[in-house]
């Protein structure tokens, strides 16, 4: 992962920790942080931006939301990337921050793709599949990960493996439907990483989670994406994983074996 992104993450964590928020990091960086200890087993994807998920608990009151806005704009000096899109911030073209939010009662409007946290100033990109994001969040102290000088108490949070997987399954499905091949490949690779690097504890936690929410639309759709697009190595999802990114020193059959292993693991999460 690029030092610039990690340094940006450190600043973000430090500023948010001051207002008693452990920022919840999703996307490629979230996967990197979740599986950091296994980073040498599979190449983890580098990313240029930070996907910050603001959870319902973090932005419950107007005062909370104002504090978040102040932190992003005044303390961290982010500015909007484009007028009217109040969930995309940047400090430079290489220093980007995207705000995501699950559906939040009272703030989410129907037929709108954003959660308006502070009118005309701070929105979150509506992420319905993050409905259960606060369950099983994992706290990650940054001093183990960052090479920059880091306050020992600096902490962020990452979603559980199953929540990261659900976000990626939905993202893949959307991009695949829109024929956005490049981004679909990126999400397919992330799904491969999650399937391969999750350990038994992640798996058991996922089984409980899926059972708990078996009747929800989120789990139903996630399951149908897995069964339709990730059922066996010849399915569209696994075919979208760029084979060259798996490991340069593997031959075709070894790469396919890896994919097959990941496919079997993924199916186990959703089998009844």
């Amino acid at each position: 992962m690029k030092d610039e992104v990690l340094s940006q993450l450190h600043d973000l964590a430090k500023a948010f920790n001051k207002i008693d928020i452990k920022p919840v990091i999703c996307g490629g960086l979230g996967i990197y942080l979740k599986f950091y200890s296994s980073k040498n087993e599979i190449e983890l994807r580098a990313t240029n931006d930070i996907d910050l998920m603001l959870t319902e608990t973090q932005v419950k009151s107007q005062a909370d939301r104002n504090a978040v806005l102040k932190t992003i704009k005044d303390d961290l000096h982010y500015v909007l990337r484009a007028q009217g899109q109040c969930f995309m911030f940047e400090k430079s073209p290489y220093d980007k921050l995207d705000i995501l939010a699950p559906p939040i009662q009272g703030l989410t409007r129907e037929n709108d793709n954003r959660v308006k946290l502070v009118k005309s100033k701070l929105h979150g990109r509506l992420t319905p599949e993050a409905q259960f994001i606060e369950e099983d969040l994992e706290t990650v102290p940054l001093h183990n990960i960052l090479s920059v000088n880091c306050n020992n108490n600096c902490e962020i949070q990452v979603p559980s493996a199953v929540n990261l997987l659900i976000l990626k399954l939905f993202a893949f499905d959307d991009r695949y439907a829109k024929k956005d091949t490049e981004r679909a490949q990126t999400h397919a690779y992330d799904i491969f990483v999650i399937a391969e690097l999750s350990n038994r504890a992640d798996y058991l936690q996922a089984k409980e989670f899926i059972l708990r929410h078996a009747e929800s639309d989120i789990i139903r759709r996630a399951k149908s994406v897995v069964l339709d697009k990730f059922d066996g190595i010849q399915s569209s999802g696994w075919l979208s994983v760029p084979r060259m990114s798996l490991a340069a020193n593997l031959d075709v059959s070894q790469r396919n074996q890896k994919i097959e292993h990941a496919a079997k693991r993924l199916l186990r999460w959703f089998e009844d």
Partner: protein, 356 residues
């Protein structure tokens, strides 16, 4: 099959008789009595007009010890010829890196039958090191001494930098550590190690003289996957009981990244154990009411059925029996991509005892 001397000579004539940028023509194949160790006299011509007479010795097996002996004798023979502008030249099927170093140190020119050469004429060195691979692997030193039971000799020498007083002491040492080896095997392996200039046996002791290379050869000859065909994954409830069931009998041993984790050198979620027999392991678990659930995808307990003598020889650690630094270093070297970094730490630790 190894090449005979006749085959080496014929290939040599074919390869270098007309080649450019240098040419070697054999003039005499019989040499005067004063130089019985010289197999032939020839002429070497480099393209840049440099030429010399060459006293040539043909070598069929280019072990380091063999080359060292030949070099000393050849150099003396050239001196005895008492002629100016004669260079000593060794021709062998293949000259490896270690052999090249020996010949460099003794000032001997050389050519091999794989297209590699180094010719020194009156202070002018012509080098043709193409990095060609050995086309005659049968002429390479025997590898088997670093595998299976034979490898126990090298492993024992690494465990004991001070060395052993006799072959019997070495045999007893190996057999006291779950090994099973005979004096004749030890003797054969030691001969090979001496030929390779890796170990020495003199009147007072048997000891490693190039511990780094011994460890390196053990690593090179270790095949992580071939030796470990039978890998099982289980989810095990109450696994702590396992350690009280088996210990202290050496029927299981922590290995791989799990052993590295026990030493604080790596992180892993898996428990990796080697067992001599999977059936016995299952029986013992059953008796102790330890529930084994086979789980090929998410089993965090990896059980490897492995009867490699090296593994069961290099055991240490309490309360959990685990592979020692030597076996772990060998395993980690092969376990890419994460392992080699751990192996580097262990290598330094192992070789520390030999630095005196």
């Amino acid at each position: 099959m190894r090449l005979t001397e006749k085959q080496v000579i014929n290939s040599f004539k074919q390869l270098y008789g007309k080649s450019k940028p240098f040419r070697i023509t054999m003039r005499k194949s019989q040499v005067a009595k004063s130089a019985v160790q010289v197999d032939a006299i020839g002429a070497v011509e480099l393209e840049k007009g440099k030429c010399a007479e060459a006293a040539i010795a043909f070598v069929t097996v280019a072990s380091p010890q063999n080359l060292l002996n030949k070099s000393i004798i050849l150099k003396q023979a050239v001196k005895n010829l008492n002629k100016k502008n004669v260079i000593p030249l060794i021709a062998a099927p293949y000259i490896g890196d270690k052999q090249m170093k020996i010949l460099d140190e003794t000032g001997i020119s050389w050519v091999d039958l794989c297209g590699n050469a180094k010719i020194n004429i009156a202070g002018f060195a012509y080098i043709e090191r193409l990095g060609n691979k050995n086309k005659f692997p049968d002429t390479a030193p025997i590898k088997k001494i670093f595998q299976g039971t034979s490898s126990l000799v090298s492993r024992a020498l690494l465990l004991n930098p001070e060395g052993f007083k006799s072959q019997y002491e070495l045999v007893d040492f190996i057999n006291s550590r779950n090994g099973k080896i005979t004096v004749s095997t030890v003797s054969r392996v030691l001969k090979e190690l001496s030929n390779e200039l890796l170990a020495i046996q003199d009147k007072t002791s048997i000891r490693a003289i190039d511990a780094k290379s011994i460890l390196n050869r053990l690593e090179q000859n270790y095949n992580l996957y071939a030796d470990r065909q039978n890998v099982y994954r289980f989810a095990i409830d109450g696994f702590e009981k396992l350690f009280t069931i088996f210990y202290p009998a050496a029927e299981f041993v922590a290995c791989g990244f799990y052993a590295a984790k026990l030493q604080g050198l790596a992180v892993t979620d898996e428990t990796i154990l080697c067992v001599k027999s999977i059936d016995k392991f299952k029986d013992e678990c059953k008796k102790a009411l330890v529930l084994l659930k086979p789980d090929a995808e998410f089993g965090n307990f990896k059980i490897i059925e492995n009867n490699d003598p090296g593994l069961w020889f290099n055991i240490s650690g309490e309360p959990i029996p685990q592979v020692d630094d030597i076996e772990l270093c060998i395993e980690m070297t092969a376990d890419k991509p994460r392992g080699p970094k751990v192996a580097q730490v262990l290598r330094e630790r192992i070789l520390k005892g030999f630095s005196k």
